[in-house]
Subunit: 332 residues, 2 copies
Amino acid sequence: MRNRTSAAPTMKDVAAEAGVALGTVSKVFNDLPVRPESRRKVLDAARKLGYSVNSYARGFKTNKTRTVALIWPTLRNPFFAYLSDAMIGVLMRREYRAIVTITNYDKQAEQRCLDMVRQNKVDGIIALTYNPDLEVDPAIPFVSIDRHFRAEVPCVSSDNFGGGQLAARKLLELGCRKLLFLRLGTDVASEADKRRAGFEAVCREGGVPFESLSVQNEEGFAPFDTFLDAHTHDGVFDYDGVFCNTDRLCYEIEKRLRAREVRIPDDVQMIGFDGIYRFDSEDLHCSTIVQPVGQIARTAVDLLLSPDRASLPALVCLPVSYRPGGTTKDGG
Amino acid sequence: MRNRTSAAPTMKDVAAEAGVALGTVSKVFNDLPVRPESRRKVLDAARKLGYSVNSYARGFKTNKTRTVALIWPTLRNPFFAYLSDAMIGVLMRREYRAIVTITNYDKQAEQRCLDMVRQNKVDGIIALTYNPDLEVDPAIPFVSIDRHFRAEVPCVSSDNFGGGQLAARKLLELGCRKLLFLRLGTDVASEADKRRAGFEAVCREGGVPFESLSVQNEEGFAPFDTFLDAHTHDGVFDYDGVFCNTDRLCYEIEKRLRAREVRIPDDVQMIGFDGIYRFDSEDLHCSTIVQPVGQIARTAVDLLLSPDRASLPALVCLPVSYRPGGTTKDGG
C-alpha cells in the first residue's frame, strides 16, 4: 500500500474533475438516484483522482474495515442470487466490500460462518439463516432477512401477511371458489409463515372454503404427490385456486397437476411467491407475489450502516405486488 | 483480536478430538473427498478447539490474508450464480474468505473492481470479465474464467470446441439435416467462441448444410426476430437442428419459434449450452451441453492457490457432457 503524504482528493475535487455539482458526487457515494451519465462521470473522476483509495484510507483511520459479510443459504436458488446481487451492488456503490459465505441450509455451518466473519473484522453482517439459536455477537451490527430473532436484531422482510392476503383476494377476484395453500419449508419460525396467515385470514373473512398443507423440506415433494393423488379424479382437481409459498413450489405443483391432466389456468389457477424470472429475462415462472428485491437490499444495508444503532426498528416489512405469469386467467 | 501465547491447536489436536486419522483432517482442509460424517466431526472439532482461529493467525504470520476476490458480471444469470456458489464453497472448505464484486458487464466497472480489490490485500483474484485491456497487477495471482488474456494468466473454461462438436453430432444423430448456429454475446474474443468453431467443424467434415448467425448483446433479440421471420413459412422453419451458444438464448429462440407455430422437438430440435436448471430443481430449460461447474470452481481455486506459480498452464479446458431436456427427440 503506497504512502500518501500530499493532500488526498476530496469530494470537491471529484466534482470539479467530473464537471458536476458537489451534491451529485455526494449522491453517487450515498447511493441516491442520479442520472446514469452523471454517475459514470463521477465514478470516472473518482477513479482518475484516486478518490476511492482515499476513502478506504479514511476507513482505516476510523477503525472501519468497510467490509460487510453476507451469509446466504445458497446462490443456486435464484431468489437468493437476485437478493445477493442487489446487496453487493448497494454495498459497492457505498464503497463497501462484500464477503459472501454460503451455509447450504446447515445450522452448524451458519454458526461457523458467523464465527469466521467475527474473527475477521467486519463492519456488519447481513444474514438469512435457519438456526434459531444462532449466537450473534452484539458488538457487530447484524441485520436478519426474513428471520426475526429478537428486538435488538433488526429484521427486513417483504410484507408476507399482505402478500398472502393479496394472493387470496386475486384468486377470488379471478373466480376461484375453493382455495388451497401449499407450503414447503423448514420448521423454523420465519416471517414467511405470515404468507399462510394472510391467505387464511382472507378466506375466513369471506367464508371461502380452503385447506392448507405444510410440508417440511426434508420430506420433499412426496407428501404433495399423495395429496394430489387423493384430490384429483379424471383430470379434475378438488380446488380451483392454489397459492404456493414460493415460485419454486408453484412450478413443481404445476408440473404435477399437468401430469395428472389438470388444465392450468383454465380449471385451476395458481399463484406463487417471490417473483423469480427465468434466467435474467422478464419472464416469470408463474403468476406470483413479487418481493421487492432492490428495496430489501437497500433497506438491509441502510439499517446495517445506520450510525444511530439505539433506535433501529425491530422489523421492516416492504410492500409486495402481484404479477400475472401464465398460471392465472389474467394472462402474463 | 485476542492474543495467543499458549501453543495453538494443531491438526493433530483436531484429529484426536474428532477421533479420526490425521490424514482425514488434512483432506478436509484441502477439500479432498471425505465421508460427510467425518467432515462434520473434523469441522466440529476444529471449531471446538479454535483451530480455524489459529489457521487465520497462521495466515497473518505468512502475510496471507486468506481472502480471494471473485469478480462476476452479475448473479442474476443463473450460470454465474451456480459458478459463484461453487467457488465460494470450495474457498470456504479451504478456509478462505470470498469477496464478491459485480460488474454488470461494464468494462470500466471491471477495472474499478480490480483496483478496489488490489487496494485491499487479497491472496488472489478469479474473474470473468469482458474488458480485453484489463490492467492486471502481476504481483497478485489471477485466474481468468472463459477469457484468455495471455500466457501468464491461467484461464479455466469448459471444452467449448468439444461442446460445439458434441452439439452438432447429437443433432445429426437425432436426424437433423440442415443445421443452424445462433450466438448472442459480446464482441470480445472469448473461449466460448470455440463453441461455434467446433460446431462448424463437424458440419464441414460431414458436408452438412449449415448457417451461423452472431448477434451482439447490445442488439438484443431483434436481429433474431428478423432472421426467424425470413426463414419461417406457415409454421415450417428452414432448419431442423439449432444449436444456441447458451441455454438463455435457446430459451428465447424456442419461445419465438413456438410463437410462429413451429413444433419443437417434432420438426425442429434445439440444443443450448450451460446446463442450467429451473430454480434449484434438476429440470433443464432445454436439451443442452452441460458445463462442469464444480470442476471449473475447483480447478480455478487450485490454480489460484498453487504455490508453484512459474509452471501454471495457460489454459485448462474441462470436459462437457450432453443432457436431453425436452427440446430434442431423445426426451428429458
